[in-house]
């Protein structure tokens, strides 16, 4: 059963229609000991049905440990938003979601997919320039709750 109402599906379909580049949602999961992995899979499964530019790749944290390490993911469920260029080459956006993307997090997930899929950034040109000049690694964790 679809988690999204037909009205929400229409809205998302419309938003995704403006994407200019494909986006891959890399879904990190594990078979045992993950209470929310199934729910997360159900949520993200809604998206490829709404746009042929959105795909999902599942990575098992235990079986594909090398791949998970390459994305610096050590918890599940987690998502990495990856852009795919015209040559089919992946470009990690370094945008991650840790935990179930429900409630407000789902909105953030959709925004991230749209951004990586070609939508204009909301950053001002001044801030974009400041950020582009960053020379050392920065990790920003944003803690949220579903409500």
């Amino acid at each position: 059963m679809a988690l999204l109402s037909p009205a929400d599906q229409d809205k998302l379909r419309e938003a995704f229609a403006e994407m200019t580049a494909p986006v891959k949602i890399v879904f990190f999961t594990q078979t045992l000991g993950c209470d929310t992995c199934l729910q997360t899979r159900q949520i993200i499964d809604e998206l490829p049905a709404l746009s042929d530019r959105v795909t999902i790749e599942e990575v098992n944290l235990v079986l594909d440990a090398d791949k998970a390490r390459a994305f610096a993911v050590d918890r599940v469920p987690a998502l990495a938003i990856v852009g795919v260029d015209a040559e089919g080459v992946d470009h990690d956006s370094r945008i991650r979601f840790v935990g179930t993307p429900a409630g407000y997090e789902f909105i953030s997930l959709v925004q991230a997919v749209l951004l990586v899929g070609g939508r204009e950034s909301i950053l001002t040109p001044e801030n974009r320039a400041k950020i582009a000049a960053v020379a050392d690694p920065i990790t920003i964790q944003v803690y949220t709750t579903p409500t």
Binding site: R94, E105, R128, K130, Q141, V142, Y143
Partner: protein, 63 residues
């Protein structure tokens, strides 16, 4: 910000699912952002302020 710089990684963490992380970073309200385990940003700030505070994690004076 992560999309605008290859040096930046951004994680949205579901606090209720990870009480250990929420405790470690003293998350008592959301949204709360933690930059390089050093700079804490409470609430949702206007873009200019958020960028300024997030980038201040690299200030040597704060090291």
């Amino acid at each position: 910000m992560a999309f605008a710089s290859p040096k930046i990684t951004a994680l949205a963490v579901e606090a209720t699912e990870y009480p250990d992380l929420a405790r470690k970073y003293r998350v008592t309200g959301v949204p709360k952002s933690v930059v390089n385990d050093k700079v804490e940003i409470m609430g949702a700030l206007p873009q200019d302020l958020f960028v300024e505070q997030a980038l201040s994690a690299l200030d040597p004076a704060d090291a």
